[in-house]
């Protein structure tokens, strides 16, 4: 990704994030959050992580933020009253954040290796195709991934799926159980308990 695009999307993302905590109205905050996540998805796509970028838009800015907006409207929240906060927690919070950020800049002031991203041109992609050939023994059968790599495009979704169902099969199934448990938990939590009413 060209440098100016990186800084453009990074700025969109950071302005959205600042707007989340600056707005008094929760609905405005939620919409600012969507802006921030769209900027973040653009950064992901710039890093050639197309699958993660699309998932970021679909799951985060689509599903999760709609859930937030839905709850905000369900609770019918009004604008937060500007209350005269005591200065101590405000100062403590800002100092905590400033210390964290200064620490971060200190660490990052040392140049890391790999200053430029390794190239992903046609030669590199075609060379990687060999590892994704299918077939038994010496016989090489071209697969979807290797064909796409040879034609010079990065089949990001296919590679992710391949990794997910080979190396990370058990975590994937545990994740399915987690989603089931959280669904049951949400239903239990949001049911009105007969004892209270």
């Amino acid at each position: 990704m060209p440098s100016y695009l990186f800084w453009l999307f990074a700025t969109i993302m950071l302005i959205g994030a600042v707007a989340v905590i600056a707005f008094r109205n929760p609905v405005s905050s939620a919409l600012a959050m969507v802006t921030s996540f769209v900027g973040l998805a653009a950064l992901f796509i710039g890093l050639s992580a197309f699958f993660v970028g699309v998932i970021q838009i679909l799951v985060y800015s689509g599903a999760i933020m709609v859930l937030f907006l839905f709850i905000i409207m369900l609770l019918d929240l009004k604008d937060e009253k500007r209350r005269s906060d005591s200065l101590a927690p405000l100062a403590a919070g800002l100092v905590l954040v400033a210390v964290f950020f200064i620490q971060l800049v200190g660490v990052l002031s040392h140049k890391l290796p790999n200053q430029t991203a390794p190239p992903l041109d046609k030669a590199v992609l075609a060379a990687a195709a060999e590892g994704y050939m299918g077939g038994q023994g010496d016989e090489k059968v071209p697969t979807k991934i290797s064909t796409a790599l040879e034609s010079g495009s990065l089949p990001d979704v296919h590679i992710i799926g391949h990794t997910l169902f080979t190396q990370y099969n058990l975590p994937l199934q545990i994740l399915g159980v987690l989603l089931l448990v959280s669904t049951v938990g949400v239903v239990t939590l949001s049911r009105k308990s007969a004892a209270n009413d």
């Binding site: 905050s29 890093l47 992580a49 993660v52 403590a92 954040v97 060379a127 590892g131 992710i160």
Partner: protein
């Protein structure tokens, strides 16, 4: 080309903004949104490391993106449960301001 340092710096800034929101805001829904911001900052770091690390075959390391996939899924489950808890809290106390939730205060 943006360098790895640039990505990590932007990600650290996003994390700091999320942390500031968690510490400063009193509305529990906004606090929750800022937690999501912090998770996203971690995701950006993971994807940046995945892109800048060369694996043996020269492609970006898919393991980093797998972790991001798992983080996003767990975050979705967490948001669902968290918002259900917030709704239950609002039903019980008619407020979601952290200043007014002081029953555990000694």
């Amino acid at each position: 080309m943006a360098s790895l340092n640039d990505y990590l710096l932007v990600s650290g800034l996003l994390f700091s903004i999320g942390l500031a929101g968690v510490v400063l805001r009193r509305n529990i829904i906004i606090v929750f949104m800022c937690l999501e911001l912090m998770l996203s900052a971690a995701n950006l770091t993971l994807v940046a490391f995945s892109r800048f690390k060369i694996t043996d075959n020269g492609l970006p390391d898919p393991s980093g993106q797998m972790l991001v996939f798992f983080v996003i899924t767990v975050a979705a489950a967490e948001v669902a449960v968290g918002l259900a808890i917030i709704v239950a809290l609002y039903r019980a106390r008619q407020t979601i301001h952290t200043d007014e939730l002081v029953s555990l205060k000694g």
